[in-house]
Amino acid sequence: MTQDLIYSVTSLALFGCGFYGLLALPHILRKLLAINIMGVSVFMLLLATANHGTSIDPVPHAMVLTGIVVAVAGTALCLKLAVNINAIDQNERDSNHQ
């Protein structure tokens, strides 16, 4: 029970940290990291839920696996967009120099 409580409280704390980071930090990489921290916090709560009874419940594990895949795809898409924006800005700066 205490183990479950530790995981749950940590999860909520991480969720708060991530949420704050997403709103407060201006840099896009930091925002993405913050979102990933939020994702991890949700996964942690699910894993804590899985450990509830006498035996371990596999359903939350399946959800976490799916969640990780989605998080990877989302993060990759955001990074690609950030790279695109950076490349456009770089091009503009180069053409201004010449």
Partner: protein, 498 residues
């Protein structure tokens, strides 16, 4: 008893997924275009074919299909009732017409190769969200919709569209995570993911309320409810025309549909009247704020996008009206029928409007409202489409928008909530102001340099918008079919309303 038609349910998601992968593999502009049109027609035929079995199955509350024969607690169920059917039908019709438009829109454009796979992924996500009977499957559908929409917004390649897409992506991910947190809490409380089981178990305890608030915040972020609408205008205003149309017509509605499911069905006992009133107040704010922002917009596409923000506000008036209506037994009650009617009318009118603006943008290369004087003479068809769609958005008879507003007003008056009546009338008036502002400019006759710089718009791009606008008007002639459809479901244990 269900008959073989039930086995067609997975095809609602299977056809778009198959089309997405095929379009990616074929990678030839002409073949993918033909293939997509065929898939869109097939999808529409499939949905129309499901109408009759659904009518015959009213006692069961709808059509259920167990994927892989596993059954509810562990496996994933697909479920279609009247409410879901309306959205499936609107989606299928819009996808077919918008696909025709897209074929011409991307005719001389190498981006088409990237457009079609993403387009079909989006449709798969939408259909999955409408039919899912499993709250985690809904999360997957939301992410599928979100990722596909973001990539479609970024298709343009300009810096503005990349920035809008990135912001949209961050908002979408945040919304999904809030939703997933709610799902985690629900699984912790009820030990199941099945919509049917949670609906029958749900109570008004603290964890359920917390889950409902998390889910609502996440979905409201995706539905762009004021004050969470900041991402919508740049994303909808910066995307290619068919993408803007589907984003405003369907993507924001998918999350609204899920909100209806959660508030009135899945977590109905936890839905307090106070919070429902709050949703209504936010909706009313959205109507006023969206109209003001639309009037101030400099670009036509941004104007239309802000108009979406305002129109979404009307949908949220559903919640306070239902909260007051204790006799709600099925989805066929006035308030819900009004909101669904509004949703359909807006989907048709707004997509028509985005297509018309897309044509104007194609013809002139810009959409600055100030410089669009006298375009009525050069682009009569596009402007005509814009005008009809605008009339439906304002809510003038005999359009679908009028019936929708009439039903909403009726629901507000019969529940003695007159303040919503005032907001709706004011919203209609303000919509008239920004629509007529554009029309007024368009009909100013100018002898100056307007004749220059107007490209020809192919008929294949002009007609789909017009068809959608005419459909929005025709919707006003018959309201019964929609209310009949809505009353399917909601009587069985799956859909018992509070």
């Amino acid at each position: 008893m269900m008959g073989p038609t039930v086995h067609l349910l997975p095809a609602l998601i299977g056809i778009p997924l198959f089309a997405a992968i095929s379009c990616l593999l074929i990678n030839n502009r002409k073949i993918t275009a033909c293939f997509s049109l065929a898939a869109a027609a097939l999808l529409l035929a499939l949905v129309v074919n499901l109408l009759e079995p659904l009518r015959l199955n009213t006692t069961a509350g709808g059509l259920t299909y167990q994927l892989g024969g596993w059954g509810a607690p562990l496996g994933i169920d697909l479920f279609v009732d009247g409410l879901a059917m309306i959205l499936l039908l609107v989606t299928a019709v819009l996808i077919l017409i918008l696909s025709i438009y897209s074929v011409f829109y991307f005719q001389s454009n190498e981006k088409a190769a990237r457009f079609w796979p993403l387009w079909w992924l989006l449709v798969a996500g939408l259909n999955c969200a409408f039919t899912a009977a499993d709250i985690f499957n809904i999360y997957v559908a939301l992410e599928l919709i979100g990722l596909a929409s973001v990539a479609l917004v970024a298709l343009d390649g300009s810096r503005a569209s990349q920035v809008a897409a990135l912001r949209y992506a961050l908002v979408g991910l945040l919304g999904s995570l809030l939703y997933l947190m709610g799902v985690a809490l629900l699984y912790r409380t009820y030990g199941t993911l099945s919509v049917v089981e949670i609906s029958s178990l749900s109570q008004a305890d603290a964890l359920s309320t917390a889950a409902l608030l998390l889910i609502t915040t996440g979905l409201a972020l995706k539905t762009a409810l004021v004050p969470l609408h900041f991402w919508l205008p740049p994303a909808h205003g910066g995307a290619p025309a068919p993408v803007s149309a589907i984003l405003s017509a369907l993507v924001v509605k998918a999350s609204f549909y899920l909100l209806i499911r959660y508030w009135l069905e899945i977590l109905a006992p936890a839905a307090a009247e106070l919070t429902m009133q709050l949703l209504g107040i936010l909706g009313a704010t959205a109507i006023i704020w969206g109209c003001l922002a639309a009037f101030r917009a400099r670009r036509l596409k941004i104007l239309v996008a802000y108009s979406t923000v305002a129109q979404l506000g009307y949908l949220f008036l559903l919640f306070p009206l239902v909260a007051a209506d204790n006799s709600a037994e099925t989805y066929g009650t006035t308030a819900i029928a009004a909101a669904m009617y509004f949703l359909v009318a807006h989907a048709l009118a707004k997509s028509a409007m985005f297509l018309a603006v897309g044509n104007i943008l194609t013809a002139y290369g810009h959409d600055e409202i100030r410089r669009l004087q006298g375009i009525a003479r050069q682009q009569p068809l596009s402007l005509f489409t814009f005008a009809i769609a605008g009339v439906s958005l304002i809510g003038l008879p005999p359009t679908g928008g009028f019936i929708a507003k009439w039903l909403l007003l009726n629901a507000a008056i019969s529940n003695a909530q007159w303040w919503w009546v005032a907001v709706m009338l004011l919203g209609g008036l303000m919509a008239a102001v920004y629509i007529f502002k554009v029309l007024n400019l368009a009909f100013i006759s100018t002898s100056l340099d307007q004749a220059t710089g107007c490209a020809q718009v192919p008929l294949g791009m002009a007609l789909p918008g017009l068809i959608l606008a005419v459909l929005a008007v025709c919707l006003g002639f018959n309201a019964e079919w929609l209310i009949d459809l809505l009353s399917i479901g909601g009587t069985a244990e799956t859909g018992t309303l509070k």
